[in-house]
């Protein structure tokens, strides 16, 4: 199994430990990652409103780089996933495609429409498979009460995996259960973490994050597990801000899917750089 790996800007800076965990996890599973190290930012939500045509073209450039390797793109961030799928759907219009390929011609690239984008949990569940994951588990997460937190963009506007309409997903639960953990249901699991307004309105973003943390805590979870680097940063690094805004103490460790799987598959806390978390996962007694 090989993928063109796109860690995303958050994975390259504020959530560098998740990027690191993803590489270790892939190595452990025999998945080869070829990093798209000349790829640009996906534009997130800003790019599409501030300069949509540049955003479209730069994402097409990234996808063309993956096509050049003959590989699908692997993402660890929900919004990177959305931004690429948005690009792919816009480029299904022949006019847009011609315009973008004219631009990419200036740097010797062409977008063919072949590369698919795969979020990490899709690769774990659909390519590796739950049965295989279970077999490879070295440190089953027995008794770990983990609250799945999907975030937005793997569910909305269109579900990235699972057969349902994105309203009652259970693939994150399936993944955590395959790894031996206990998935705790809670009402905010498909809501927003608040990331996209943290830079412009931190108090509001932190209040939105607090609702998620409150929901997980009230359900009796010991930690939260998410497929997205942005959700991870919001709920972990901004947990203090969320505590301040809601006048509640959470102290909930947040784990990215790459970390949950990494722990279950026997990687060490040092391997996973868990000490980079703001809310230490050590209290979970796993590593």
């Amino acid at each position: 199994m090989r993928f063109a790996y796109y860690p995303g800007c958050v994975g390259k800076s504020s959530a560098a430990e998740v990027d690191h965990a993803t590489r270790r996890l892939a190595a452990r599973l025999g998945i080869e990652l070829v990093e798209l190290d000349q790829a640009s930012c996906c534009g997130a939500t800003q790019g599409w409103v501030t300069d949509p045509s540049l955003t479209l073209a730069l994402n097409a450039r990234t996808l063309a780089q993956a096509e050049g390797l003959g590989l699908d793109v692997l993402t660890i961030c929900n919004t990177c996933y959305l931004s690429f799928t948005r690009t792919i759907s816009r480029l299904s219009h022949p006019g847009e495609l011609a315009r973008v390929n004219h631009a990419l011609g200036a740097i010797g690239l062409q977008y063919q429409g072949r590369a698919r984008v795969r979020p990490l949990p899709a690769v774990l569940l659909e390519d590796v498979g739950a049965a295989d994951l279970r077999r490879q588990t070295r440190r089953p997460l027995e008794g770990l009460r983990i609250a799945p937190f999907y975030g937005c963009h793997l569910l909305r506007p269109a579900p990235a995996l699972g057969a349902d309409d994105g309203r009652s997903p259970h693939w994150l639960e399936d993944l955590f259960v395959a790894l031996g953990a206990e998935a705790v249901d809670h009402p905010a699991k498909t809501q927003c973490c608040g990331f996209h307004i943290l830079m412009t309105n931190e108090p509001l973003g932190a209040r939105i994050a607090a609702r998620v943390l409150q929901s997980a805590r009230a359900a009796g979870a010991a930690c939260v597990g998410t497929p997205c680097t942005q959700c991870y940063v919001t709920l972990d690094a901004f947990q203090k801000a969320a505590e301040r805004e809601s006048r509640t103490r959470f102290r909930l460790p947040i784990l990215h899917v790459a970390e949950v799987a990494g722990i279950a598959l026997g990687l060490s806390g040092r391997d996973l750089r868990l000490s980079s978390h703001m809310v230490s996962p050590r209290s979970l007694g796993l590593v």
Binding site: Q46, S53, A57, L58, C152, Q191, K240, R244
Partner: protein
């Protein structure tokens, strides 16, 4: 519970009575193609319950019948009844009584956004020379029945109507502002709150009319405000794109430095701790500014 029954736990509250809200449970015989609205009507007409709820058209037109069913905001007249239902008023809005919520905060927000077509040019002829392409977005927004289900689903909306206008009001603003015949500049009224949308698509997902609220209202209106440089957030957006053009990648510290908000890093005393954990590392720029410039030039050619 028999197989042919619907069990509904319905929220009951009258602020005038001064007692705590409670839930009343009703058993309702299941009918074919039964909707949530049918269950509510049965509870009042056949069981004699005192229950306040709104409806008028019964066919997804008037927008009056929004309620929350099993945690999801829906139109009562457009939602199949489930065997077990918890029926509550739409969240995020003040409760008038039982399932009836107060829409007036929304009305006030809409009023401030000039919800009418303000044309400079007089009618040229009938029919007007409009193309489908030019009317595609306003036409989608015209489907809005103002049910406020998107508002109930929106994490950024605050009941007081201060700050963020909320998705439904932005749909009304967009319906006119994005109409090719409209000539009124609403951007300064909009810029006061519209950047608080966190792009979660909860509105799109919840809208019973299938309106692309984020893509057809919030984003185009926001794009217009950014273009005009309105608000600190516009500076943030331009800085974000400048970073992509210069370095290819965007990180929190580079963005804050660029928007001259570095002080925000240290605020609340968490900055240092975050920095120690490597949360403020500057991702190494990719060496492709030249490539990006070439791509941009060509994109701007036509």
């Amino acid at each position: 519970m028999g197989a042919g029954q619907v069990v509904a736990r319905i929220f009951s509250y009258d602020p005038a009575e001064g007692r705590e809200p409670r839930y009343e449970t009703y058993e309702i015989p299941r009918a074919r193609e039964m909707r949530v609205l049918d269950a509510l009507i049965y509870v009042v007409d056949q069981l004699g319950a005192s229950l306040a709820f709104r409806w008028f058209c019964g066919v997804r037109r008037c927008g009056a019948c929004g309620v929350q069913v099993n945690g999801r905001p829906v139109l009562a007249c457009w939602e199949p009844a489930a065997e077990q239902m918890v029926i509550e008023p739409l969240p995020n809005l003040p409760i008038v009584r039982d399932l009836v919520v107060d829409h007036s905060g929304y009305d006030r927000v809409v009023d401030r956004l000039f919800p009418y077509l303000d044309r400079r040019d007089p009618y040229q002829s009938f029919p007007e020379p409009l193309t489908h392409g030019a009317m595609r977005i306003p036409h989608d927004l015209m489907q809005c029945v103002q049910c406020l289900i998107c508002v109930a689903a929106c994490p950024s909306w605050r009941i007081d109507g201060e700050g963020f206008q909320g998705p439904a009001a932005l749909v009304q603003a967009g319906r006119f502002a994005l109409d090719p015949r409209d000539a009124l500049d609403r951007s300064s009224a909009l810029a006061r709150g519209l950047y608080d949308c966190c792009s979660c698509y909860a509105c799109n997902d919840a809208c019973p009319m299938g309106i692309d609220v984020l893509g057809h209202a919030v984003e185009p209106l926001r794009a217009a405000c950014i273009k005009r440089g309105l608000g600190e957030e516009a500076r943030h957006s331009h800085a974000f794109l400048d970073l992509i053009r210069e370095a290819g990648v965007v990180t929190a510290p580079s963005l804050l430095l660029k928007t001259r908000r570095a002080g925000a890093l240290a605020r609340a005393g968490e900055g240092l701790k975050l920095a120690r954990k490597g949360k403020f590392s500057l991702a190494s720029p990719i060496s492709t500014a030249e490539e990006i410039r070439k791509v941009q030039e060509r994109m701007e050619e036509r």
